[in-house]
Amino acid sequence: MPAKKRTVRIGNWYKSDDEKVHFVRKRKAPRPAKLRKIVPGQVLILLSGRFQGKRVVFLKQLKSGLLLVTGPFKINGVPLKRVNSAYVIPTSTKVDVTGVNANQIDDDYFKRTQAQRRKNEQGFWAKRGELTAEQQTAEKTRLDGKRNTQKSVDAALITAIKKTQLLKQYLGARFTIGKTTRPHELVF
């Protein structure tokens, strides 16, 4: 019996030599992260970063999967902030957030503006980093807007917090590991 001839299929299209094709990852949209047992209004402990140990109130999960939290700012200095759920310990304490409206806040709220990026420039680009007068006023209005958003979101939250005894002090205190603390035995 004659051996079967192996045929190699030659493609019909040949790329030109000078054409450079970027490697494109197929997954562009972030997968919506699963929220494991964290409920809006729950108090979380931040584990790393500038506010490590602070107890904050969870508001909602953003589209990127990050958690939107707030101190509230007046109580412990933590502003509206995005946090990765892996860098957080959820506690059993819950705050009533039915009156809190954080609907207008999404990932774009936290995007860095060009003026911000310019401000951080150093060295060769330092001259370009100085903001023009109109950029400065734009920055000022942007920051004022942020302050107002913070205040409006926190207002309802603070009235809810004041109803529970010692909750304000609890949120103002930081979590720390002492000499005899065993995190693997702690029930948060």
Binding site: R36, K37, L47, S48, Q52, G53, S85, A86, Y87, V88, I89, P90, R174, F175, T176, I177, G178, T180, T181, R182, P183, H184, E185, F188
Partner: protein
Amino acid sequence: MKGQADQKKEATKTVKKVKTTNKSAPVRLWVKAAFTGFRRSKVQQNENQALLKIQHVEDVASSRFYWGKRVAYIYKAHTLQNNTKFRTIWGRISKSHGANGVVIARFGRNLPPRAIGSTLRVFLYPNRA
């Protein structure tokens, strides 16, 4: 002494404007762990796997909490790097070792042997809860 009084007033005025710094005590969000050595037999060792004895962890069930947690070995050097003289080697706890709570950690670069006996920081993240 009107001039002096005015100067004092100015001084107190400016002091009021200065923001008060954070005076709270530093918090510790990491657990102490002793680097007891590399995983080894009597005459041979594997430097890729570091044995860590985490404080207050005495059995395998407790050590399971620390699986996946990030560990840092922090040391000082003479020259500045990233504006600081402190340097770190990061790793993760990969598995338990034995019955008494010892864990094995793997680092980005293997730990230097002079770190044996030193305290490493086991952080509480990533939190798998």
